[in-house]
C-alpha cells in the first residue's frame, strides 16, 4: 500500500490527457490556454515526482520552477495577443482564425 513513482506518473498522464482534450474540444482561445496550463502542470508533476524518487538533489524541482516561469510568461503574452484579436474581430473563436489557410 505504498505510493510509488508510478502512481504520480499515472496522475500526470491523466492530467495531461485532460489538458489535451480541453485544447482539442474548445473553440474559445482562453479555454485552450486553460488546457495548455493543465498540460504544463502535468509535466511539472512528473518532474517533481522524478526528483523525489530519483537520485536526490533538487534538480527536478528547479526545472519545475523554470516551467512555472515559462508558463507565466506564455500566459501573459498569449492573453495580450488574444485581446488584440478580440479588438480586431470581436471574437476569439479559434475556428474563425483561418486567415492563413492555404
Amino acid at each position: 500500500m505504498t505510493i510509488g513513482l508510478m502512481h504520480y506518473l499515472v496522475v500526470g498522464a491523466a492530467l495531461f490527457s485532460a489538458g489535451l482534450v480541453t485544447v482539442l474540444a474548445r473553440r474559445n482561445a482562453v479555454a485552450i490556454l486553460i488546457g495548455i496550463e493543465l498540460m504544463l502542470n502535468a509535466a511539472n508533476l512528473n518532474l517533481v515526482a522524478f526528483d523525489r524518487y530519483g537520485p536526490g538533489g533538487v534538480r527536478g524541482q528547479v526545472f519545475a520552477l523554470f516551467v512555472l516561469v515559462i508558463a507565466a510568461a506564455e500566459a501573459a503574452v498569449a492573453l495580450a495577443i488574444l485581446l488584440n484579436v478580440f479588438d480586431a474581430r470581436d471574437r476569439i473563436d479559434v475556428d474563425a482564425m483561418t486567415n492563413l489557410k492555404g
Partner: protein, 656 residues
C-alpha cells in the same frame, strides 16, 4: 598565435555586431569601422602566414564543447587549426575582403541600406574565416552554413526588386542540395572515425578505421557539397544568377568567400579521398571548365561572362585537385582570387561609370575614359588567359595542366581546349568593353573614371594578378612539401595522393603557352579588328551553337521541367484535394447514401424496411456530420490528427 587567430575572427565579428545594431547611427554610417576591422584581420593573417612560412609548426588548439553521451564520453570540441594551407587562405580571404570593403564605400554610396550592407559584408568574411580556421568538421560545417546564409542576405540585398530575391533563393536552395552530401559525409566520418577533428579523421583513414565503403561515401559526400558551394556542373546554375547582387558582393563571392569554400574543403580533405573520388573530382572539374567556357562565349552581360569564367576556373581548380596536383589547384585558387576580384571590381567600376549599364554591346572604347580601370582590367584578362612568364595565372594554370598530363591525359586535352576558350572569351570581353569605337554614345559620354577608393583596390589587385606567381608565392605554393607536410600527407605516405612531385615537362608548358596566346590573339583579332559584317559572316555557321551556349545548355529549363514544375503541381494538387476533395467527398458520400437509399426505401415495403433503411441512412449522415465537424475546426483539426497519430504510435509501438 592564438591571439592573432582570435583577432582575425574577433575583429570583424565585433564590427558586424556594432554595425548591425548601431550602424545606422554611426557617422558615415560606419563603413570606416568595418574597413578598419577587416584590415586588422588582414594584418594578423599576414603575421600568421609569415610565421607559418618561416617554418613554424602547425598550430592547433581546441576546447571541449559538450559531451554528447552525457558524461564519460569523448566531448565534441571547438578549435582552431593553422597550417600552411590555412595561413594562405586566411591572407587571401582577408585581403580580398578588405579591398572589397574599401571598394564598396564608394560603390554603395547613397544606398538606403548602406550600413546594413557593410554589416553583412563583415559577417560574410567572419563566416569564411570560421570555416577556414576550423579544426574539425562540425565547426567547419557551421562556417559553411553561415557562408550560405550571408550569401543569401547579400545576393538578395536589393530585396525590393524581385530578381535579386529569386537569385538569392536559388543560390540558397541549390547549395543546400549540395549540403545534403556534407551531412552524409559528416555522418559517415563520425560513425567510423569517432571524431570530427581533422587530425583524428586522417589518423583513422591511415589506421584503416575509416575504410571502404564509408571512406568513399564520405569522399563523394564532401565533393557533392563542394559542387554545390563551388558551382560545379550540374549545380552551377546559381552562380550566374547571383550576379543580381551588388557587384562588390559578386567579387567577394567569386574570389574569397563562398566558392573558395568548396575548393578549400576538397583541398583540406585530400588525405581521405580515394582514387575513385579523385577521378570523379577531376572529370567533373574538366567538364565544367569546358562547358562554362562555351557558355561564357555567348553572353552579353559583362557580369555574366565573368560569372561563367569563374565557374570555368573553379573547374580547373577541381581538375588540379582531382589529378593529385592539389597544391596547384590551391595555388590557382589564390591567383584566381586576385584576378577575379580585380575583374569584378573593375566591372563594378565600369557599371558604376556607365550608370548601371551591364550590356557589353552598349559599351566600347572605355579605355581612354577610364584608364586605371581599363589597364588593371587588362592585367586581369592577361592573368586569367595565362599570358606566359609574367602573369600569376600562367603559373597556376600551367601547374594544373602539367598535373593532368601526368595522370589523366584525356582531361588534359579538354583543359587545354578550355584554356584556349578562356583566353578567347576574356579577350572578347575586354575588346567589347574597352576597345574599339563606342557603340552607344550616350553611355560613352556619361562614363568617367571612378574615385580613388575604387581605383586603389584595383591597382593593388592588378599588381597581385601579375606578381602573385612570382618569387615567394611561386616558390611557396608550388612546393608541395611545405603545404603537404602541414597536412601530414607526404609525411605518412598516404597512398591515394601518391607522388606529389611530377615533372614540369617542356612540352606541356609549350602547349599551354600556345593555347593562351592563340586564344588572346584570336579574340583580339576577331573582336577588335574584324568589322561587324565580317564578324557576322564568321558567326553564321555557328548560329545554332551560339543559341545553345546563350541558353546555357538549357540547365535552367531542365530544372524547371524536372524539379520545379512537379513540385508546383504537387502543391496545387494538395490544395485542390484539401479544398474540394475532402469536404466534397464527405458531402457526396452523405448525399449519395441518403438519396439513393431513401429512394430505394420508397419502392420497397415502407413499414417493414423503413426502420432499417433509416438506420442505414442515418449512419452515413452522422459520419458525414462528424467528419464535417472535423473539417470545420482548422487548427484544432490538425492538432487532433497529430495528437491522434502520436497516440496511435505510442500504443502501436508498445503492442507490436
Amino acid at each position: 598565435m592564438l591571439g592573432l587567430a582570435l583577432t582575425i575572427l574577433g575583429a570583424p565579428l565585433v564590427g558586424f555586431v556594432i554595425q548591425f545594431f548601431l550602424g545606422r547611427r554611426l557617422p558615415g554610417q560606419g563603413a570606416w569601422l568595418t574597413v578598419a576591422t577587416i584590415f586588422a584581420s588582414f594584418v594578423s593573417a599576414v603575421v600568421i602566414m609569415a610565421s607559418q612560412l618561416g617554418g613554424a609548426d602547425p598550430f592547433h588548439i581546441s576546447w571541449a564543447w559538450f559531451d554528447p553521451s552525457g558524461g564519460g564520453g569523448t566531448p565534441w570540441t571547438v578549435g582552431i587549426h593553422i597550417d600552411g594551407l590555412t595561413a594562405v587562405m586566411l591572407v587571401v580571404v582577408t585581403l580580398v575582403a578588405f579591398l572589397v570593403h574599401l571598394f564598396s564605400t564608394s560603390y554603395m554610396k547613397g544606398d538606403p541600406k548602406y550600413y546594413l550592407f557593410f554589416a553583412w559584408l563583415q559577417m560574410f568574411s567572419v563566416s569564411m574565416l570560421v570555416l577556414v580556421l576550423a579544426d574539425n568538421l562540425l565547426h567547419l560545417f557551421m562556417g559553411w552554413e553561415l557562408v550560405g546564409l550571408c550569401s543569401y542576405k547579400l545576393i538578395g540585398f536589393w530585396s525590393e526588386k524581385p530578381a535579386p530575391g529569386n537569385a538569392a533563393r536559388k543560390a540558397f536552395i541549390t547549395t543546400r542540395i549540395g549540403d545534403l552530401g556534407m551531412v552524409v559525409a559528416i555522418a559517415a566520418i563520425y560513425m567510423t572515425a569517432g571524431s570530427f577533428e581533422f587530425s583524428k579523421i586522417f589518423e583513422a583513414a591511415r589506421s584503416g578505421a575509416l575504410a571502404d565503403p564509408w571512406i568513399t561515401i564520405a569522399g563523394f559526400g564532401l565533393f557533392f557539397a563542394a559542387m554545390g558551394k563551388s558551382a560545379q556542373a550540374p549545380l552551377h546554375v546559381w552562380l550566374p544568377d547571383a550576379m543580381e547582387g551588388p557587384t562588390p558582393v559578386s567579387a567577394l563571392i567569386h574570389a574569397a568567400t563562398m566558392v573558395a569554400a568548396g575548393v578549400y574543403l576538397i583541398g583540406r580533405f585530400m588525405p581521405i579521398l580515394t582514387p575513385d573520388v579523385l577521378t570523379v573530382v577531376a572529370t567533373v572539374g574538366a567538364v565544367t571548365a569546358v562547358m562554362a567556357g562555351f557558355i561564357a562565349l555567348a553572353q552579353d552581360d559583362i557580369k555574366k561572362v565573368l560569372a561563367y569564367s569563374t565557374v570555368s576556373q573553379l573547374g580547373y581548380m577541381f581538375l588540379g585537385l582531382g589529378v593529385g596536383a592539389w597544391h596547384a589547384g590551391l595555388f590557382h585558387l589564390t591567383t584566381h582570387a586576385f584576378f577575379k576580384a580585380l575583374m569584378f571590381l573593375g566591372s563594378g567600376s565600369v557599371i558604376h561609370a556607365c550608370h548601371h549599364e551591364q550590356d557589353m554591346r552598349k559599351m566600347g572604347g572605355l579605355l581612354k575614359k577610364m584608364p586605371i580601370t581599363g589597364w588593371t582590367f587588362l592585367a586581369g584578362v592577361l592573368a586569367i588567359a595565362g599570358l606566359p612568364f609574367i602573369t600569376a595565372g600562367f603559373f597556376s594554370k600551367d601547374a594544373i595542366l602539367a598535373g593532368a598530363w601526368h595522370r589523366l591525359p584525356f582531361l588534359y586535352w579538354m583543359a587545354l581546349f578550355g584554356a584556349v576558350l578562356t583566353a578567347f572569351y576574356m579577350m572578347r570581353l575586354f575588346a567589347m568593353t574597352f576597345l574599339g569605337k563606342p557603340r552607344d554614345q550616350h553611355v560613352h559620354d556619361h562614363a568617367h573614371e571612378s574615385p580613388a577608393s575604387m581605383t586603389i583596390p584595383l591597382l593593388i589587385l592588378g599588381a597581385l594578378a601579375i606578381c602573385a606567381g612570382w618569387g615567394a608565392w611561386h616558390g611557396i605554393l608550388l612546393n608541395p612539401e611545405i603545404v603537404a607536410d602541414a597536412m601530414g600527407v607526404t609525411a605518412t605516405g598516404f597512398k591515394t595522393v601518391g607522388d606529389l612531385e611530377f615533372e614540369h615537362s617542356g612540352l606541356v608548358a609549350a602547349m599551354a603557352i600556345t593555347a593562351g596566346v592563340l586564344g588572346l590573339l584570336g579574340g583580339l583579332y576577331v573582336f577588335r579588328f574584324m568589322g561587324g559584317a565580317a564578324l557576322d559572316r564568321l558567326k553564321r555557321p555557328f548560329a545554332g551553337l551560339e543559341k545553345v551556349f546563350h541558353r546555357k545548355f538549357g540547365f535552367d529549363e531542365l530544372y524547371r521541367e524536372i524539379a520545379m514544375r512537379p513540385a508546383y503541381g504537387l502543391a496545387k494538387g494538395f490544395r485542390v484535394v484539401d479544398e474540394k476533395g475532402v469536404d466534397g467527398a464527405v458531402n457526396v458520400i452523405g448525399r449519395f447514401a441518403r438519396d439513393t437509399l431513401a429512394a430505394l426505401s420508397g419502392r420497397t415495403d415502407r413499414r417493414v424496411v423503413d426502420g432499417a433503411v433509416h438506420l442505414v441512412g442515418w449512419v452515413p449522415r452522422v459520419l458525414g456530420a462528424g467528419m464535417n465537424a472535423l473539417q470545420s475546426g482548422r487548427v484544432r483539426f490538425y492538432l487532433s490528427v497529430s495528437a491522434g497519430v502520436l497516440a496511435l504510435a505510442l500504443v502501436l509501438g508498445r503492442i507490436l
